[in-house]
Symmetry: C2
Subunit: 234 residues, 2 copies
Amino acid sequence: MDFYKNEPSLLLAVDCIIFGFNGESLEILLIKRGFEPERNKWSLMGGFVQPDENPQQAASRILKKLTGLEDVYMEDCGIFGDPDREKYGRVVSIAHFALIDTHQYQHIISEEFEARWFPLKEQPELIFDHPQMIEKAKQKLRMKAALYPILFELLPEKFTIPQIVALYEGVYDTELDTRNFSRKLLSSELIIKLKEKDKENSKKGAFYFRLNKDIYKEKIMSFLSYLPSWSLNG
Amino acid sequence: MDFYKNEPSLLLAVDCIIFGFNGESLEILLIKRGFEPERNKWSLMGGFVQPDENPQQAASRILKKLTGLEDVYMEDCGIFGDPDREKYGRVVSIAHFALIDTHQYQHIISEEFEARWFPLKEQPELIFDHPQMIEKAKQKLRMKAALYPILFELLPEKFTIPQIVALYEGVYDTELDTRNFSRKLLSSELIIKLKEKDKENSKKGAFYFRLNKDIYKEKIMSFLSYLPSWSLNG
DNA sequence: ACAAAAGTGTTGATGTTACACCCATGT
DNA sequence: ACATGGGTGTAACATCAACACTTTTGT
C-alpha cells in the first residue's frame, strides 16, 4: 500500500500578505521575527501546514494567530518553491493574501509578535523571497479588482466615496476622477447611501455608504463569465 | 541549525490540466493511469516535485513527459490539500493548467500513457479531486482571458478568425457575433492578415492571420494596470 | 443559379472623459 | 466671506450590439 514511499517529502509553508486599508492609504502588516532563522528581521507572517489542515486552513490559522480575526477574505497568490530558497531545509511556501479593515485589527495588538503596518511603498527589507510574494499579491489583487469589487473587503461597514477612491488609487497607483468614479459606483447600486456624514476630512462632509451585500454577491457569482474587454485598442 | 525539525513533512505533487484547441473545439488531455493507486482510471497527468526542482519546473517536466512539448504556457491554478484527499498518504497537489495547440501534439502519441483528448463537456469520471481542479482551471482561464489575449497560446501559427471565435465561444460557453468580434480584433492590430486562405470550412474561404507578437507582448505587460471595468451596471 | 460561410456598413444606444459649476460648512 | 473638499450637469467623444447587406466560390 506504500505506493509513494520512494517519493521525496518536504515542508509546506504558508506566508500571509496582509493588506489593510485605514481609510486613507493601503498598508501591509509585517512582523519582526522573534525566532530563528533570520531572527529580528522583518518578514511576512507565516507557518507550516499541519497534518490536520489544508493549506487554506493553515493560512487562516496563521492570520488569526497574528490578528485575532476570523472569516477574513483570503486567497492564494503564488507558489514559492525554489530548491534553495531557504538554507535550512526544503520548504515550499504558498503565498496568500488577506484583505482586512485595519480598524478591526488596531486593538488586538499581539504581544507575541512585533507587528507593524507599513505603507505599501515604504516596505523595509524582507527575508527570503518575501518581496516577490508581495509583488505577486499586488498583481493578483489588481487583477481580481479589475473584474469584480473585491476591494470592498478592505472597507469598514461605513465608508465614504472619497475613501473608496483613495483605495482604488492606492491599489492601482494612479489618480482617478472622484466625480466620475462615484457616479459609476452609484449607478451600480452596489452601495447604499446613509443619512450620516463624515465631517473629519472636509467642511461639507461626505456621506457614508454601506455595501449592498445582495448586489455584491451577485457580482461575485457572475464575474467568471465576463467576456474579454481587453482594451484591445490603445 | 535544525530549526524546522519538528515540523510535519508531506508529499507535494503537481497535476496538469492540459487544454488544447484543434481549430474547432476546446479539449482537455487525460491519461488512463497505468500505475497504482487507482490504476486504469482516467486522471490528469501528475507527478511529485523532486528535490532539485521547483513546482513550476515539476509541472513542465511532467507536461513534457506526456506530450514532448517544451516552452508551453503554464500557470498554477489552485492548491488541493485536504488532509484526506488521498488514501495512501498526505499529498498536497498544485494544479497547473497548460495551453497547447493540439496539432503540435498529435504525432507524439506517447506509448507509455494511454492519453486521449476529451471535449470539455464530455469528461469521463476522474479520480480524487481532479474534477474540481479542472473547474478551477476553467475559471482561471476565463479570468485571464477576460483581461488579456491569453487564448492565443492555444492557436497555431496560422489561424482564421472563425477559429478564434470558436475558441472564445468554447471557453466562455456562449455564442459570439463573429462579425463584431473580428472587427474588434482587427482594430487592435493584434493579428496580421496573411495572403493565404483556409478553404476547408467554407466556399468563400477565410483568410489566415498570424499573431503580432510585439503587440501581444505589450498587452501582456500592461494588463496588470487595467482599471475596474466590472460591469458595474447590468 | 444557389447555398453557405466570410466579411462590410450603418445605426441607435450606451458608456466614458473632461471639466464647468454649484453645494455645504468651519473658520 | 471665502476656502475647501463634495458632488451634479453636460457636451464631445468612443465603443458596442444588432442586423441588413455584399462578397466569394463550390456544387
